[in-house]
């Protein structure tokens, strides 16, 4: 195992990418995630593993380079922050439609528009409810620490290839810029073209003696055929929903009230839970790790034993809709959020719990 190091979330993404056998990174700088590209350039992985690192001319170009690389069965990725991710939505829809694996990291900043460079979670809707056009889903992981930035990146590649689907790592400026301890994964070799042909027979790496070429496309003009494509996608999404839900709980078992929060908000909420518990108020924290598939059944189970839930987000109220769907009216679900790059303090959340839940 590697020694424990101290690094930023963005640096951990870059280090982990090289280590989990990534073939290519294509990206364009934007605060607060520029260190991903900077670190990759500084590490020069092309000398060590042969990984390609390329600064594209735009985010639109980056995602389409990813599309091309993914079509060849390569482990490819990009990263950006909110405005850049918006530019990638068309490409993401195409990649999902063409059923290709890739990883996209969003180090979210406050919007709308160019907004601010400070942390935010206001891209939740964009990530889990579409973003691009058509009935597609992005498997979405929400890291809450620098260690998870590294862990989730490797997991993202595994899930992307398991389901031939794009995977989003939805972090934010707080996790991206913060330095913490991290233990990086061991080096895993990149696959050779022969190994890719064997593992992924759909990859467009040349006919190589086969009679028919592979075609990767999201276009199907015959509606009957396109419906079949959609059926296949939906079937895949049901499988993802059945198998890939991930979440974490903190002091939930005896809780009267539950905070629900993801990513950096969950970190802050954990402190709020500690403060509330010191006052003798039994509060727990439920942290969805996968935002799609969402832990619907698990939240519903907790709704049977608590008096109310508070969704805490760095946005104007997005995930709270999914919490309400999961709770399905069993108990009140309230919301507390800060936005525009503002970060709630643990004390503010304590106050919100008292005002909104305990009346």
């Amino acid at each position: 195992m590697e020694e424990v190091k101290l690094m930023k979330g963005n640096e951990a993404i870059a280090e982990a990418a090289i280590r989990c056998g990534c073939d290519g990174y294509f990206g364009y700088p934007i605060t607060p995630q520029s260190e991903v590209l900077e670190t990759l350039m500084a590490l020069e992985p092309w000398n060590k593993t042969g990984m390609v690192v390329l600064q594209a001319e735009s985010e639109t170009a980056s995602i389409n380079m990813v599309y091309g690389g993914a079509a060849c069965g390569k482990r490819v990725m990009t990263s950006s922050s909110s405005p850049g991710i918006s530019l990638m939505q068309e490409g993401l829809s195409y990649i999902a439609g063409a059923e290709l694996p890739c990883v996209v990291v969003n180090v979210t900043r406050g919007g709308p528009g160019l907004g601010t460079i400070q942390p935010s979670q206001s891209d939740y809707f964009q990530t889990v409810k579409g973003g691009g056009h058509g009935d597609y889903k992005l498997i979405t992981l929400a890291p809450a620490s620098v260690q998870e930035m590294s862990d989730h990146l490797c997991l993202a590649f595994d899930l992307a290839f398991k389901y031939r689907n794009p995977v989003m790592v939805l972090s934010d400026g707080l996790i991206g810029q913060m330095m913490e301890k991290v233990q990086l994964p061991d080096y895993q070799p990149r696959l050779t073209n022969e190994e890719i042909r064997e593992k992924y027979p759909w990859a467009t790496l040349g006919k190589n003696g086969r009679a028919k070429q592979n075609i990767i496309t999201s276009l199907e003009l015959v509606s009957e055929e396109m419906e079949k494509v959609n059926n296949r996608l939906q079937q895949k999404y049901r499988e993802v929903e059945a198998n890939e839900v991930r979440y974490e709980t903190f002091l939930c078992d005896d809780a009267d009230y539950l905070l629900v929060a993801f990513g950096s908000s969950a970190r802050i909420c954990q402190k709020s839970v500690e403060l509330l518990r010191e006052e003798g108020i039994k509060v727990g924290l439920f942290r969805p790790i996968t935002l799609y598939p969402y832990p619907v059944a698990q939240i519903h189970e907790y709704a049977k034993q608590v008096k109310g839930m508070l969704s805490v987000e760095m946005n104007a109220g997005q995930m709270v809709e999914d919490v309400r769907l999961a709770v399905n009216g069993l108990v009140p679900v309230e919301f507390y959020g800060r936005y525009g790059g503002m970060i709630p303090t643990p004390e503010e959340i304590v106050k919100a719990v008292k005002e909104k839940l305990i009346i």
Binding site: L6, K181, Q270, P346
Partner: protein, 204 residues
């Protein structure tokens, strides 16, 4: 509560720290270029060397681009929850705007360490420990202006010995790029000098 007159630093005793379940929440704030972020980084690395849980959360926004910069550093024996804080155990303050912003946010009984240069308003709190360190003046007089922030760190460790000097030196080595390793000795000198020039202003 008593105002403590200036006296030689040899009699300055470290403030009480509960070592059994240690957690120190620190804010370091000043102008960009004073070494605020790197001081935090060295402190975080020192904590890492001492086997602590650590977090280092910088301001990376407009304030860093030509204005005040700050960094929150937490060292703890337990897993750190929120890296963002409303109140701090210890504040290291290097300019007036940062004093205005963070003085009210020091926990009761906490510690404020500030560089004496360029303040129009001195700290006002009477429920915290206040120490001044004339690091800018001293570092310039000794022709060591580049190690200004290490004087400050030395001062901090004199009153809050949260990490051992040996681990700070190891942390320094880890956080400095190799091309600067010939400056390690000078940094150590600054660190030790900083311990000597601390001035207690108000001690509980």
């Amino acid at each position: 509560m008593k105002r403590v007159p200036m006296f030689g630093t040899s009699s300055i005793r470290p403030l009480k720290i509960n070592y059994s379940r240690m957690k120190e929440e620190i804010i370091i704030a000043g102008f960009g270029g004073q070494g605020v972020l790197s001081m935090g980084k060295i402190l975080a690395y020192s904590g890492l060397m001492q086997g602590k849980e650590v977090s280092w959360m910088p301001s990376y926004g407009p304030e860093q681009r030509g204005g005040t910069a700050n960094v929150t550093v937490i060292l703890s024996d337990e897993k750190i929850s929120s890296p963002i804080l409303q109140e701090y155990d210890t504040a290291i303050i290097l300019n007036q705007p940062s004093l205005d912003k963070f003085e009210p946010r020091i926990k009761k009984g906490g510690t404020l360490l500030y560089d004496g240069h360029g303040f129009v308003r001195e700290p006002q709190r009477t429920d915290i420990n206040i120490y001044r360190i004339d690091a800018l003046e001293t570092s310039i007089a000794l022709n060591m202006a580049k190690t200004f922030n290490m004087f400050i760190l030395g001062g901090l460790l004199k009153i809050r010995p949260i990490v051992e000097i040996d681990n700070v030196l190891l942390g320094l080595k880890k956080s400095l790029p190799e091309r600067h390793h010939h400056l390690l000795a000078q940094n150590e000198t600054a660190l030790r000098k900083g311990m000597e020039i601390l001035i207690p202003i108000h001690v509980l």
